[in-house]
């Protein structure tokens, strides 16, 4: 079997995945493909179907229809084999009382039949990765929330899985713990793990993920790298124009351009003068042309930039668009 053939199998592959709870569609036909080594972010509001999709992949739920494969193995046909290949961290989870940190990891290592000789050394390595080496003998319930989160992350790694499924790993963490978590995830990416991570807080995923899927009402609205999604939405780029001259005159001048949408005046945002937010559909060349003609028309422009679309805006645009479509 050739090497290329092997690595061409996506780590996650779902086709027409549907999950229905009591007639309610939680997942309405999701086609998701995640290649090896990717950090794939599932973004969507609460109740969008992220957790359900992840639980199906973690073999904790059977899909109503469609199929889901992890490393090419159908999750309903051979859940045990799938479980050996994934590390799953649920959105809500507890820890056992009366168990020390090393015992906690030792327990899960036994669950995955890790060889006894390997177990002891591995616990040390994992604790080092998640920065809990000095908590080895502490009781699990005495750990802070951030530490528990990292311990739970460590438990997903005991059997060295190909895929990590992390459901909202950063929720409820303070900013510092969030940064620590991000560092760990970066390290895991360096180790070549494929990671499926979900969040409803978008910025925390933006810089981490190689690809993003935007999910709402059980549907995958967009999927791809952030740049790809951005490009697909380019038509509605927003320009920020700071003016020292009369903003209303500039606004009405801009309004005559067919490529410009509804201009919004934003007070107090610009360092000098007044800012206008201008929806503009056109290439970067056309943006430069707009600036030139604007200055030639006598408007005093102190700032001109394209609003950097972060994940949050992308998300709002995508979900807003889908609502318009469904309304139409």
């Amino acid at each position: 079997m050739s090497e290329s053939l092997v690595s061409s199998v996506p780590v996650i592959e779902t086709r027409g995945l549907v999950k229905r709870y009591d007639g309610e569609l939680a997942v309405a036909g999701i086609d998701l493909t995640v290649a090896a080594g990717e950090i794939y972010g599932l973004v969507g509001p609460n109740g969008a179907g992220k957790t359900t999709t992840m639980r199906i992949l973690a073999t904790l739920l059977a899909p109503t229809a469609g199929e889901a494969r992890v490393c090419g193995i159908d999750v309903t046909a051979d859940p045990i084999e799938v479980r050996r290949r994934i590390g799953y961290m649920p959105d809500f989870y507890g820890v056992y009382d009366d168990l020390r940190v090393w015992e906690y990891l030792d327990f899960f290592a036994r669950c995955y039949s890790v060889a006894p000789a390997r177990r002891a050394s591995m616990i040390g390595e994992l604790l080092a990765i998640v920065g809990l080496s000095d908590k080895r003998d502490a009781y699990v319930e005495a750990l802070s929330r951030g530490m528990r989160q990292r311990l739970c992350l460590a438990h997903t790694l005991v059997h060295d899985p190909a895929l990590l499924i992390l459901d909202e790993p950063a929720s409820g963490l303070d900013p510092r713990a969030r940064v620590e978590l991000r560092e760990i995830l970066r390290e895991l990416r360096g180790m070549g793990k494929t990671i499926l991570i979900s969040s409803h807080i978008l910025p925390e995923l933006g810089e981490l993920c190689t690809s993003v899927g935007i999910i709402d009402h059980g549907r995958l609205l967009r999927s791809g790298t952030i740049a790809e999604i951005e490009r697909s939405l380019e038509a509605t780029a927003i320009l920020r124009i700071d003016l020292l001259s009369d903003p209303d005159a500039a606004a009405s001048w801009l309004g005559t351009d067919a490529r410009v949408g509804d201009v919004l005046r934003v007070d107090g945002e610009a360092v000098h003068g007044i800012r206008l937010e201008v929806p503009f559909s056109g290439s970067p060349d056309e943006q430069a042309g707009l600036l030139r003609t604007m200055v030639e028309a006598g408007h005093v422009v102190s700032g001109f930039s394209q609003a950097t679309t972060d994940l949050e805006e992308i998300f709002l645009k995508v979900t807003g668009k889908s609502e318009e479509e469904s309304a139409a």
Binding site: C71, G72, A77, D78, R83, F92, D98
Partner: protein, 419 residues
């Protein structure tokens, strides 16, 4: 050949996987259960209470027993010697220890297991557990065994106290074995009832309530149903003469109290308290005059094993043909019979004239019933732990099915080499 097929033989046998699942769960559970001083304190209190009880029984029974013995050997209505002082003391201690231990075990066994699964749900640890390759059966059995481990430790720790009885006589080593068997089966049976409710119900509180209701039904409910059934079974078309016909004795097979009373009654000479309780419980067709009871009609048609034998009783499978000729004045007597379950003082002479045949009847049936019950409930609990809709998936994939699914299975193990 696909990688899936290559990886298939790596799987060890189903039994081994099950076994390792059980031990994994047990190690974790026992680690936290025996942590700290709690376990030692509980054992100490438990043994202390039982020892005090044994001494209390001795202090109360011994003087009276000595007085009785002072009158010299006495016989009951059938010429059988009443136990001497020492044996009387031994029997009293044995009886009270047995009953008290049973009550303690019956209270503790469910308490140890009602949280087994539901606590994992409440504390949201179950998903972590179920998403590992642990076998659902392994999880459930491991939980049950680790909960029972402590209970069994308590039961076994009290064996020396029961063995005190051997010094006095009145109960034999066999009696202690029977007592231990009933205690053990009570722990297992009631423990698995708790486990079942724990898996079936979301909240531990609800599981606890349902478990104790079930235990209450088994201990008090079944005799009440039995008595009510027997009482209303008197007059009907099939039974025009109005003789009482007992309800099916199977009703009492899952009753720990009946089983223990049965074990204790076995040690009693003649008809002691526990013998009378047992006969009162099971036989509504007996007439007793002091210690002597006999049956008024042919009892228990179609219920083998309940036929009363020995002296003063009709029916009963003759164990031997000897005609001892006891109590010929009583009607409906088959004096030659020493039924299979009876202890006989001689050929055909049962030590307990009436219910001697009953003593020793219930405890083995109880043991088997509890064993069957716990297997059933454990399997049910196991199925409740498996995620909904995934039940079928845990059957081993058939050899043919392994080749079906995917194009090239298994990718390279991505992170393995680097870690």
């Amino acid at each position: 050949m696909t990688a899936a097929m290559i990886s298939a033989p790596i799987r060890s046998s189903a039994l081994r996987e099950f076994g390792s699942s059980v031990t994994t769960v047990m190690i974790k559970e026992l680690r936290s259960r025996f942590r700290g001083r709690r376990a030692f304190i509980v054992i100490t209190i438990y043994l202390g209470v039982l020892a005090l009880l044994a001494y209390g029984v001795y202090a109360v029974v011994a003087p009276q027993a000595r007085i009785n013995a002072g009158f010299g050997p006495r016989t009951d209505g059938f010429g059988i010697t009443i136990a001497n002082a020492s044996a009387t003391i031994g029997q009293a201690i044995f009886a009270l220890l047995s009953i008290f231990e049973l009550i303690l075990v019956a209270f503790m066994a469910p308490a140890f297991t009602t949280g087994a699964i539901s606590l994992e749900r409440e504390k949201q640890t179950l998903d972590l557990l179920v998403s590992t390759p642990l076998r659902p059966g392994g999880i459930v059995v491991g939980k049950l065994l680790s909960a029972l481990a402590f209970l069994i430790l308590l039961i076994l720790a009290a064996v020396p106290l029961s063995a005190l009885v051997l010094m006095y006589g009145g109960a034999t080593l066999d009696d202690i074995v029977r007592q231990q068997a009933v205690l053990l089966m009570t722990a297992i049976g009631l423990g698995s009832i708790g486990l079942f409710w724990s898996a079936a119900v979301k909240r531990t509180q609800a599981a606890t309530v349902l478990t104790y209701l079930t235990v209450l039904f088994l201990t008090l409910g079944t005799p009440m149903i039995y008595a009510f059934w027997s009482a209303t079974n008197t007059y009907n078309a099939e039974n025009p003469f109005g003789a009482p016909r007992p309800a099916p004795e199977q009703l009492l097979w899952a009753n720990p109290a009946v089983a223990m009373i049965d074990v204790v009654a076995y040690t009693e000479p003649g008809s002691g308290w526990f013998t009378l309780i047992l006969s009162g419980l099971t036989g509504s067709n007996e007439v007793c005059d002091g210690d002597v009871c006999w049956q008024t009609t042919t009892p228990n048609d179609g219920v083998p094993g309940l036929k009363l034998g020995g002296a003063g009783v009709t029916g009963g499978a003759p164990a031997n043909g000897d005609d001892v000729g006891v109590a010929n004045d009583l009607p409906l007597i088959d004096p030659g019979a020493c039924p299979a379950n009876a202890r006989c003082a001689g050929p055909g002479l049962a030590i307990s004239p009436i219910v001697g045949t009953l003593a020793g009847h219930f405890w083995p049936r109880y043991g088997l019933t509890m064993a069957a019950l716990s297997v059933l409930l454990t399997v049910a609990a196991m199925r409740l732990v498996v995620p909904n809709g995934m039940r079928f998936a845990f059957r081993r994939p058939r050899p043919g099915a392994a080749a079906v699914p995917i194009e090239p299975a298994q990718p390279e193990p991505p992170a393995g080499a680097e870690q």
